[in-house]
């Protein structure tokens, strides 16, 4: 038992070091934004896929914004992927098609497998451009975003691109404010540091792009996964394509406003991520492919982020068990260091990362909410652990997964 506890503490120490490495790199290291200066070019034709399943509250905002972006109109086709919506989504899309003839080609899907990946897979029949950009329906792209997300594809090594997501409803309640802090840490520090260090920036599946030839090479969208973005990241990596992160390509999104919706969302992310871990983890670390050694290591650690929650819980239980069994849990100075790392530094690293991110964003006062993040982390740890356990149960019973759409909170445009 004690050795399992040692193992868990050791892994937590690795993740702690990783958090610090990323944060310090972001604060003091060389910042890579190689493609952001491409403002003049012979812009290639692009297809913008907008995934929409019952999005009557938000789809009009997304389409309006896309019709106003600064990209040659004759080179940009918007394809709203209306996935079996039962609300007014189809009607709203068709209104836009009539208002902007030739610029929007809708894909109305009325049957088929559930999930975003399955819908995108079916919509590929309308795509013939080398550059594909993907947005969820609750995103509102700014004027320059399409050019910014397209620019990295001038690099023949780039297979995927990911922009930054910024919550627009962050002031609604304590949950949205905490999610705003988490997003800052995740993008401003985590993703950008991975970009700086030439590690594995993660494709987020929205505010993102993929190269058609790369997508074809890796076998297209995988509709067997709950998180097609994580799956895409790793398949691109294994085939020698880079995913790049553009921190300055920012786009507003709506974050969950209720804990119930948040829990569902993070459980889906955790399950999808764990699927990718099982599918690609060992091959990534030890297989024969084109990823560099540092990409192998970082990619494996990234795959493990969601499984760390049940590990942490197990660590707590083991620590208590060891204590009540009267076993002298740890020995000497190494033991003290390990316990300190586990109990203090390990927890603090993520806070340090978020604090640094918020500071880099220039937001001074919201940093005060940092102690409340314990609440968010606790909910996440239990939700993600629950997701992992239910995933194991599903695997044993052969139950099929189902895809939960994230509920929207914006008021529909009249």
């Amino acid at each position: 038992m004690i050795y399992v506890l040692y193992g868990i503490v050791a892994v937590i120490c690795v993740y702690t070091a990783r958090h610090y490495w990323f944060t310090l790199n972001r604060l003091f290291g060389f910042q890579r934004h190689p493609y952001i200066d491409i403002d003049t070019a012979d812009w290639p034709p692009v297809t913008v896929l907008v995934a929409a399943h019952n999005e009557e509250k938000v789809i009009a905002n997304a389409l309006s914004a896309l019709m106003s972006v600064k990209y040659p109109a004759d080179k940009m086709l918007v394809v709203p992927v209306n996935d079996r919506s039962t609300d007014r989504t189809r009607e709203i899309i068709d209104e836009f098609v009539a208002r902007f003839p030739g610029r929007i080609r809708p894909f109305h899907r009325v049957e088929g497998k559930g999930g975003k990946a399955a819908a995108l897979k079916d919509a590929m029949e309308l795509v013939d451009t080398e550059v594909i950009l993907i947005f969820d329906a609750d995103y509102i792209p700014g004027a320059g975003l399409i050019k910014q997300l397209t620019a990295p594809f001038f690099d023949p090594e780039v297979g995927g691109v990911m922009g930054r997501v910024v919550p627009m409803n962050c002031g609604t309640n304590i949950l949205t404010r905490l999610l705003d802090l988490e997003r800052s840490g995740g993008y401003q520090v985590d993703q950008q540091a991975r970009m700086n260090l030439r590690l594995v920036p993660q494709h987020g599946g929205t505010v993102a792009g993929v190269r058609l030839s790369a997508l074809r090479e890796i076998g297209g969208w995988n509709d067997e996964t709950l998180t097609e973005d994580t799956d895409l990241t790793y398949r691109l990596l294994l085939h020698g394509w880079k995913t790049v992160y553009q921190n300055r390509s920012e786009c507003y999104e709506e974050v969950p406003e209720t804990w119930q919706v948040r829990i569902k969302q993070i459980m889906r992310w955790a399950k999808g991520h764990n699927q990718a871990m099982v599918a690609y983890g060992l091959h990534l670390l030890f297989g024969k492919h084109r990823a560099t050694p540092r990409e192998r290591l970082d990619g494996a650690l990234l795959l493990g982020v969601y499984i760390m929650a049940p590990f942490t819980m197990l660590g707590w239980i083991l620590a208590l068990a060891v204590f009540y069994q009267g076993i002298a849990p740890l020995h000497g100075i190494i033991a003290i260091l390990a316990v300190t790392a586990y109990a203090a530094v390990g927890n603090m690293a993520a806070f340090f990362e978020i604090a640094a991110a918020v500071r880099l964003d220039g937001n001074c006062k919201r940093i005060r909410l940092l102690p409340f993040l314990i609440m968010g982390f606790t909910v996440s740890i239990f939700s993600v652990s629950r997701a992992a356990f239910s995933q194991v149960k599903d695997a044993l019973t052969g139950a099929e997964f189902h895809w939960d759409k994230t509920e929207r909170f914006r008021k529909a445009e009249s």
Partner: protein
């Protein structure tokens, strides 16, 4: 002491200690002092002309005065709504004779004219300048910003701190430092010794017209052919031999050397140093994760990006009049004789030199 009281006191003290770090959080949670979304620029795409367009709108209220002075040949002094003092000149050459300079050789008035503007040398112009006609600046001047509706010419050793936009051609004589954005709707010409950060024009030329003739004539002779072949991913270093033809996109994980006279019909990327020898043609983009050195008389049709340093030798052209492009790196050195169609952007420092 009553033990119950002691326990209660201990619990209260512990609770207070626990609550202490939460007090700022509770205050922020209650007062919502910083709960607005992060500012994301939705309306514009970082266009180089953003400031000059803004300035044009800013001085719009002066249009009547500008026309009146231009018609009468007189001058007018006044104050804009934000308190900025301006001097409108009826005849641009008056700037040479008027006592514009204070004792520290600074002109702190905003100058505007609808005529051709000619400015004296060795002067610091600390406010923006508007020239409805041509603009000719004296030597060793310092400017904050200039908007010229026709040609703009800066004298030897001048400095621009923020931006210049010329509707006509822009020309900077030797040893000018252009710290901000410089744009033209027609062309930009920089002479040796000039430094720059961000330039944009249909045609950007380093050196005299004789020096850039090779790059310009070469452009007319050859046109890019898009590549349809799959990309090639190469571990380690790679060489494309002299006069060889390579079709398709190429990604090299090591160093890349493209030999003299080679033709690459696709885009090229190297993870380490990239060396492009003389008279090479690249039909697509050229990306280096470290440094790139481009020899003389090359033609690159797509964007050119180097993550550390970029050098381009005389006679080379990037982009074409029909297909403008971007050349970008933190540090750029270009020889006189280089032509870029589109954007030339050095994040840290760009230099025009006689010879690399």
């Amino acid at each position: 002491m009553n033990p119950y009281l002691a326990v209660a006191g201990l619990v209260a003290a512990s609770a207070a200690m626990f609550m202490l770090p939460l007090i700022p959080a509770l205050v922020e949670f209650k007062r919502h002092q910083d709960d607005q979304p992060l500012k994301v620029i939705q309306e514009h795409a970082g266009e180089i002309r953003f400031f000059s367009d803004g300035f044009r709108n800013y001085i719009n209220p002066l249009q009547a005065v500008l026309q009146e002075c231009f018609a009468s040949g007189g001058n007018a002094k006044g104050m804009l709504a934000d308190g900025a003092e301006y001097l409108v000149l009826g005849r641009g050459e008056d700037a040479l004779t008027l006592p514009l300079r204070q004792q520290d050789e600074t002109c702190s008035l905003m100058l505007a004219t609808n005529a051709d503007l000619v400015l004296p040398a060795d002067t610091t112009f600390s406010r923006d300048i508007y020239a409805g006609g041509g603009f000719i600046g004296g030597m060793e001047n310092k400017y904050r910003a200039i908007l010229g509706e026709k040609d703009v010419q800066l004298g030897h050793g001048s400095k621009v701190m923020r931006w210049v936009h010329a509707v006509g051609a822009f020309r900077a004589e030797e040893c000018c430092d252009l710290y901000g954005r410089v744009s033209s709707d027609s062309s930009i010409r920089l002479r040796a010794g000039c430094t720059f950060l961000r330039l944009n024009a249909p045609r950007i030329e380093a050196g005299s017209s004789e020096q850039t003739a090779a790059a310009n004539t070469r452009r007319a002779r050859e046109a890019p052919t898009p590549s349809q072949s799959p990309r090639r991913l190469q571990d380690g270093d790679f060489v494309i031999g002299p006069d060889e033809e390579f079709t398709g996109d190429l990604v090299v994980r090591g160093k890349l050397r493209v030999g003299e006279g080679a033709r690459v019909w696709g885009s090229v990327k190297s993870e380490k140093e990239m060396t492009i020898e003389d008279a090479v043609l690249v039909g697509g983009s050229l990306i280096s994760a470290t440094t790139a050195r481009i020899g003389a008389n090359c033609a690159i049709y797509g964007p050119v990006i180097a993550e550390r340093e970029l050098e381009i030798q005389a006679g080379t052209s990037c982009g074409s009049p029909e297909h403008p492009t971007t050349v970008s790196a933190p540090r750029i050195r270009i020889e006189e004789g280089v032509v870029v169609f589109g954007t030339l952007w050095a994040r840290e420092k760009g230099q025009v030199v006689d010879r690399i």
